[in-house]
Subunit: 410 residues, 2 copies
Amino acid sequence: MPKISQKGIVVPASPIRKLSPFADKAKREGKKVYHLNIGQPDIETPAGMLNAIKNIDFKVWAYTASEGTASYRTKLATYYNKLGYNITPDQILVTTGGSEAIIVSMISCLDPGDEVIIPEPFYANYNSFACQCGVVVKPILSYIENGFALPAISEFEKLITDKTKAIMICSPNNPTGYLYSEEELLALKALVLKHDLYLFCDEAYREFCYDGLKFTSPMHLDGLDENVIVLDTVSKRYSACGARLGCIITKNKEVYQAALKFAQARLSPGMVEQIAGEAAVDTPDEYFTAVNAEYTTRRNLVVEALNKMDGVFCPNPGGAFYVVAQLPIDNADKFCQWVLEHFEYQNQTVMMAPATGFYSTPRAGYNQVRMAYVLNTDDLSKAMECLEKALEAYPGRVFEEEAESLKQKA
Amino acid sequence: MPKISQKGIVVPASPIRKLSPFADKAKREGKKVYHLNIGQPDIETPAGMLNAIKNIDFKVWAYTASEGTASYRTKLATYYNKLGYNITPDQILVTTGGSEAIIVSMISCLDPGDEVIIPEPFYANYNSFACQCGVVVKPILSYIENGFALPAISEFEKLITDKTKAIMICSPNNPTGYLYSEEELLALKALVLKHDLYLFCDEAYREFCYDGLKFTSPMHLDGLDENVIVLDTVSKRYSACGARLGCIITKNKEVYQAALKFAQARLSPGMVEQIAGEAAVDTPDEYFTAVNAEYTTRRNLVVEALNKMDGVFCPNPGGAFYVVAQLPIDNADKFCQWVLEHFEYQNQTVMMAPATGFYSTPRAGYNQVRMAYVLNTDDLSKAMECLEKALEAYPGRVFEEEAESLKQKA
């Protein structure tokens, strides 16, 4: 039998999905499982987008241009220019989801062995994409103490070698919900210019900023045109994860041309998606106002409930729809599995993502979990109640002084 | 400015699309351009598939399972089992088009530096996918004299090294239209078993076999379960190129599990596509009967017209919707550009793909072009007339005895 590739052996299985068999078992046993583990919003996709699908009137479901249709890219440019990105349609390359945007950007900018520095915890699939491209991820720790703010630039400097080609950020962040400030982005700007690096910016959660905080993109900063590559997707913006429609935005022509060659090889992004994506740009502002109000309510509920629990600390994130909380537990992987396998409260339980899957540094995040607040407030309340009872019952519960002191400081 | 990757430099631009600026110019000059250069069929997508899109009734456009929905994979299995593949739904991994099926299979089976042998001329984008994965393509020449039949196994043997991990075929073939016989597949079977290789089979054109010829897949052969990986797409079968919906089929569990990890990283194939794909499996047989009759008529028209031209030789392919013809010209790249730039007949001209883009061996196919018969018969007749006039007028026309002798032998 021929052997599979080394990459096929080492590429990680999804840390979020590996608990699924235990959730399935819990359900078979009749338990209600609250899914806080995945970033699949329950929010409805805008009607305009769904109607665009229902109203298709073509006879041949044909390839589009590899870079995306002119009409969709033109429309997208108006969306980005409203945000102040100052771009033209030929600086947008439409991709099959944000995932393809990341893979194509990595492969266009980095060769096997090249290094990309990423603040951790980070979106776990970056590891898989890097593995696919032969790129080496250099994690840099951020800390729950300050809500996972940008690590000190001096810490980045320590990691930079002659192999370092890029820094990658996600803001608002998955998994932490942290929203980078303009000051933090200016510090990164100085760093990438000093070392001539690319700055990959995953902005999947751009629309979800709370408490009046303003979203700033590196696209808003002067002097970074050759360095910035924005990776985007409609998945979260329009609650359209199954659309698989994203894009790369860059003003760097060489990067665009290289990315286009990889895009040409795979021929075309989806045609129906681009029709729907074009309609989505016309989604009324009220949609986002309502969605943001809903997410703010949910975040407040979750953060408040968590910080009321003994030994639990949860920073109050400025964006996205995730929190990372520290729990009084010995091991998040064990705990998350135990909650599904051996616990129930009024026949209910909770599925969470152990934060260890979002760290590359061994043991980091061992007592942290990521929760996505993608359930309605009733269900979220019940899920929080379950979690509190689970923490009380968990045999691996540990001393909680640290969390209490973090809460005092926060 | 940071440098793009070496891969980004060397990955080839699409050989089919590089003549586009000349076609655009011809159109701006008011010429009618017959597009024989791309594999985008003009055939209508089955109504059942389009209706499935129009009738979607979900409120949240959500991720599906990374391997594809159970319901689509179950339906697909019935389609493949009708063909005699004897597979289960968990041997199917749904992908974003045939392109992703190829990339994920390559990355799961081959490491950078590993070699895959591919009979040439071959689908040009295999080069780009191999570049993306760091895989080395070892081309093996097939010849127009025998209609691009499988090269002798002894020629394959000469190319096999300790780096050889796979053989890749496409049947019916793009660009040649050649349909591998059961005997040829049995010869390949012995070869891959002898050297413990993977056999990648691109079967995008499976439905398009003519003259009563029977399609055989390596899936039909015993003893190859661990070796065969079928790469499929709905693009050509249902004239749904813009759907970006394909799949990997393999009975090799290790390959499937590795591919699934890469698939998990990119989360999900398109949801609407899978709904439409499920409906497509119910496309009535009459659809394919009509389409095949149409393609047969077109192929006959094109092959006959070409062979009537002085100095032109075109084998009669058994499948797909392409022909590769030998023309009395000095250089196919120059000729195809010249036809667009400097030629017109009754204000019409023709766009073809120089066959050189489908060969890796330097100079191979220098006097060959690929034509896709994806136009109606009226347009095809006019395109053939144009081509004949162009060949008469072309300043780089060369002596044609070879083609005439090939025609005698064929």
